[in-house]
């Protein structure tokens, strides 16, 4: 795929040797990687269509080193791209030719577990699932669960404000992080929040969460941990049409039920998943819902009965409740393997991530069908049905002339449609480089300028992760200018107010 990145600075490229040497003074030994063959593993993230070798890779192991590297880069005007595990699906961790790739994978320790205050303090390179594993012995877990949870880092989760199937009930990363330590581009170490709730001033933690590595480098995270629900059971409900499945979802919520998870798959996704993991999905339905209820057994049994009744009232043709932990796991196995399953039926696929108001689902599915015909590409849909977050998977073959380009155009059209019906470009995967140029579909100039002014407060030289999120880089001096000139704006017509 082609994406315009900021033009690399010749001045930096020509100083590469000196820069590498200076970084070696800060991070000794194997912590600085500059050989092309060794840097190759870092040349892309989960969005593998974009590749670029960085200027140099640095893997610090202390906060002091992170601070010193950033301070050095700030002083020398060298861009820095933070990276966790590199599973981003939007190219957020795509390296820059003239930029240092700062990899946090050595920050992999759980620092403290405090059950009485239900929190854990961890380094940013700890994996999402690693947190749950660390506290599982005491019956606790960390709730947000991206499908990439075996691999993705908590630092990356904070940077992307990641979600997962359980976010409908338990919230996104932003709702489960109590505090962070981060380092600014100037090398200043700051703390936001901690074991207490809410900020004492502006909600900088709220701004940092989901900032895609553009505002600071996260070096420690305090997360909320929760007691595991007593039981969890899932029910598979199949429908002859996706409209009926959509109605079912709306009725469940209208009943006041917020399931632990509520996922939908369309026929192509169901078939691919079933062929791959044999989850026991019905393959003769157009839409399949997986609804998981968790909590005390009394609650789960009570609500399962209600959900089954709602399913039947909405025309369900199959309805199966998990009878054991194994069966529940099997129901999820198909959904969680949906991406690789689709990967088996197509040489390549492109995963989209728009969110829509749920009621618009039939319109958006119909729109996608028409686009699928127009572009001559198949699409399979998995969908966080509870919160309207779509993951259309566009199937293509990169070896076929023009298919990649068509897949991109198809994807862009889907996202435009999402915005048109009142939704957004990205529900959980981030803007990165992938959706950067679509930002104007959702935001006007003034909207984006106000976002970039946040950037100016944190990083006025635009050195952290430049070229991501914003289609145009306005210089902070330009953004700072006031366009209201004394005397030129007449005072408003006071009696009106």
């Amino acid at each position: 795929m082609s994406v315009m990145m900021p033009k690399p600075s010749e001045a930096i490229l020509s100083r590469r040797r000196a820069i590498v040497e200076a970084l070696r003074q800060i991070v000794p030994g194997e912590g600085v990687v500059d050989a092309a063959n060794e840097m190759a593993v870092f040349e892309s993230d989960g969005l593998t269509a974009y590749r670029q070798l960085p200027l140099v890779v640095v893997l610090p192991s202390t906060v002091e080193q992170v601070a010193a590297v950033l301070k050095y880069c700030h002083g020398e005007d060298i861009p820095v791209v933070p990276r966790g595990s590199g599973t981003s699906l939007s190219g957020g961790a795509l390296p820059l030719e003239d930029g240092v790739l700062l990899v946090l994978s050595k920050f992999n320790r759980v620092l403290e577990i405090d059950y009485d205050n239900r929190c854990a303090v961890v380094q940013p390179g700890v994996t999402n699932l690693g947190i749950t594993h660390a506290v599982a012995g005491n019956g606790f877990y960390y709730a947000p669960d991206p499908s990439s949870q075996i691999a993705c880092s908590i630092g990356g989760n904070v940077a992307e404000n990641s979600g997962g199937v359980h976010c409908l009930k338990y919230g996104l990363t932003a709702n489960n992080v109590l505090g962070i330590q981060f380092v600014t581009i100037e090398g200043e170490v700051m703390r936001l929040g901690g074991k207490h709730l809410d900020a004492e001033g502006y909600d900088l933690l709220g701004l940092m969460t989901g900032s895609e590595g553009l505002l600071g480098v996260v070096t420690e995270v305090t997360v909320r941990i929760l007691q595991k629900p007593e039981t969890a059971r899932a029910v598979l409900i199949g429908f002859p049409t996706s409209e009926q499945a959509g109605e079912c979802v709306a009725s469940i919520i209208a009943k006041g039920i917020i399931p632990g998870g509520m996922e939908m798959m369309d026929r192509p996704a169901i078939t691919a998943a079933e062929d791959f993991v044999h989850a026991g999905y019905p393959t003769d339905v157009e839409a399949l819902l997986i609804v998981e209820l968790d909590g005390p057994a009394a609650e789960v049994d009570h609500l399962l009965a209600e959900v089954e009744a709602i399913g039947n009232a909405n025309g369900a043709v199959t309805c199966r409740v998990s009878q054991s932990e194994e069966e529940r796991a099997a129901f999820w196995a198909g959904r969680k393997a949906a991406f690789p399953a689709v990967g088996r039926i197509s040489p390549d696929y492109y995963c989209m991530d728009g969110t829509i108001p749920r009621k618009e689902l039939p319109k958006v599915l119909a729109g996608m069908k028409a686009m699928s015909e127009k572009y001559g590409l198949r699409v399979a849909n998995v969908f966080h049905a509870g919160d309207g977050n779509l993951h259309p998977l566009i199937l293509y073959d990169a070896n076929k002339e023009g298919e990649l380009h068509r897949a991109e155009e198809f994807g862009n059209d889907i996202l435009r449609l999402c915005v048109k019906v009142g939704g957004v470009l990205t529900g959980e995967h981030g803007v990165g480089v992938e959706k950067r140029d679509l930002m104007p579909e959702m935001f006007d100039e003034d909207d984006m300028k106000h976002q970039q002014r946040v950037k100016c407060a944190f990083d006025d030289k635009h050195l952290l992760n430049p070229g991501k999120v914003f289609p145009t880089l306005h210089r902070c001096a330009e953004l700072g200018r006031m366009h209201v000139h004394k005397g030129q704006v007449a005072f408003p017509d006071l009696p009106r107010f």
Binding site: D116, N161, L168, G171, L172, N175, E188, M190, G194, K195, H196, L197, D198, E200, G201, Y202, D203, L204, L207, T209, G210, E230, I253, G256, G295, P296, A297, A298, E299, L303, T355, P357, K359, D387, G423, V424, G427, H429, V431, K435, M439, F443, D446, D447, H450, V454, C456, A457, F458, M482, H483, V484, H485, V489, A490, F491, P492, L494, R496, F497
Partner: protein, 414 residues
Amino acid sequence: MNSSARMTYASIEKSILRPETTEDIRDIVAAAVSAQEPLAVEGTGSKRGLGRPVQAARTLSLTKMSGVTLYEPEELVLSAKAGTPIAEIEALVDENNQRLEFEPMDYGPLHGLEAGQGTLGGVVACNLSGPRRLKQGAARDHILGVRAVSGRAEIFKSGGRVVKNVTGYDLSKGLTGSYGTLAVMSEITIKVLPKCETETTLVLRGLTDGEAAGAMAASMGSAAEVSAAAHLPAYVSSRVMDGELGNEAATAIRIDGFGPSVEARATHLGRALEKVGKLERLEPEASRRLWRDVRDVRPFVDGTDKPVWRLSVTPTRSHEIVMSLRMQAAIDAFYDWQGGLVWLRMEAGEPAADLVRETIRRFGGGHATLVRASESVRAATAVFQPQPGPLAGLSRRLKEQFDPAGVLNPGKMG
């Protein structure tokens, strides 16, 4: 603009400006910037007693920007103009068996005002929440989008109307809790959730603050999905529910949800708590009254302006903070959020800010905000927790980016 009706800025000293549209707000801010005269921003002013007194010639009041503009119960979303009374919103969602999950508190009574006067904009600008904050988050966790006018007199929006959204920086969270110092919000979209079918509260009697901390931690760490945990020391307990609870210390644990589930969880947790002390149980109506009183700081609604602090600290350390303070000053205190929220009344009338903050620092950190005091005390005290140098610098830069001329609520958060 009708120029014949135009007045000069100077001629309307102390006037209250009541915009009716976002564009009106923009024009007012533009004029304030041109004239270099700051504005005090308010919904209806119910929380005027919060923060540093603002020195501004004019007040921008949101009272004429009122009304729910979108409510789709099945989509769990509601948008309203910022000046919409929060009571109106709560009544509307209640008709649909829904609620604002963050249980926003009402500062009115604490400040000697009538209850139920606040606006949506005020609730969001102060990031209000209530007892359920512990489990379900504050206003910041339920805001989906805003439309606002910054101190640059530019209209901007952020977020949207869907829950899952990571498109661009989360400016909505940035404005939440900014006390009207970054931008004037004109329209706000929030998440609403189904109301609980029923609730009950288990009350342990006679525990010391330290014992209560242990009981609350155990309850929160159980599978009972507790939605609120508070401790009212002896005598404080008599100042809620019109005295019904009596004088004995009360440690209250709320369980809510579907009927059969509440019953099962209350029974299960009750068995464990019985071993800790004498246990009582409140029926739904009594439970609701108790938590409303805890939420609105009823024990300190006393018609005075004795300083009241709001402390956000590590839950299990708060009883140590209170104990230490008791040795050095005349205070009265009670706890919400499993102890993570401490309400502290200074009986001698002095705010003792340094003592309070130094004590918090010694026992695990956190922050203290002076939420009630006479105007002269508020003018002389750091009402908000002072931030360490570098962080204060960052906050200042953010303010300068959004309000370079310093026209919005100058000094409010200083």
